[in-house]
Assembly symmetry: C2
Homo-oligomer: 162 residues x 2
């Protein structure tokens, strides 16, 4: 009985606040923490549409790039082929995209969104825009644009340095 | 033969540039892309020390919080218990941390860095600071501080809104 009670309580002395003062000085750490928070809210935003972050991202890319190949999509999403298969299967089973014979390579498939896929994506994009407005609200409009520009500078600069 | 040659060539029409114009409007997407670039460079930076991003982060947290419990560390790293075990095993086997009986809960362990762990961490921190200076170079000093502040605003605001 004592054990059961103990288990149901928050673990005192075990879950206390942990100082991350050294790590907070690194942009990379702050980027990861902020992204984790964004991702959690994004998951809640996409859930009513039956989408996850990766299926939403893939659907937007297929719409912006008709006849995208699976190789191109894997590269754009930076995922392994095995993970890509799950993403494509999910979207196909939901009737949001179709796999068609590639016009340039018959071993490959060209991905295209269905009408239902384009319609769902429009509604999901609206919800994600609202989610972003909420999460960037503390920065003001200029602050949000400056954040995006700074992130792109880091990404480009870092890639250029390789 | 034709097949073999074809296989060794880059897949023409398969790996062409993919437009992510819609996604680029979202801070979350830019955050993820920038973090991927940072993470790749960080992995190269930590490799000579025998550390990965997660073992480095855990080591810094253990040093900043002596006698940290495994539950606290899992929370601070935002990882599942099973992943935490791998991280702790790696650090312990490398002689960088020790698991000691907890002063407050005998079912638990208190984590402490060894002298070798503290020394390795000092050198790794210097290398990571240089990696950050390089990757944030394009922003200037004020820009780097502004980026970190903006990321913290997003993280805090988003958490507060839950």
């Amino acid at each position: 009985m004592a054990k059961a009670i103990r288990k149901s309580l928050p673990e005192a002395g075990q879950g206390g606040p942990v100082s991350d003062r050294t790590l907070r000085g690194f942009a990379g750490y702050n980027m990861k923490r902020a992204f984790n928070a964004v991702q959690a809210d994004l998951a809640r935003t996409l859930e009513p549409f039956g989408l996850r972050m990766m299926t939403f991202t893939a659907l937007v890319l297929v719409i912006d790039n008709p006849d995208l190949s699976q190789t191109q999509l894997a590269g754009a999403l930076a995922v392994e082929r095995s993970n890509l298969v799950v993403i494509i299967d999910d979207l196909e089973q939901a009737g949001l995209i179709t796999r068609n014979p590639s016009p340039t390579d018959r071993r490959s498939h060209a991905l295209r969104a269905t009408l239902a896929g384009r319609r769902l994506c429009e509604r999901a994009l609206q919800a994600v825009r609202a989610h972003e407005e909420k999460l960037l609200g503390g920065l003001g409009e200029n602050g949000a644009a400056a954040l995006i520009a700074a992130l792109q500078t880091v990404e480009q600069g870092n890639r250029g340095g390789e």
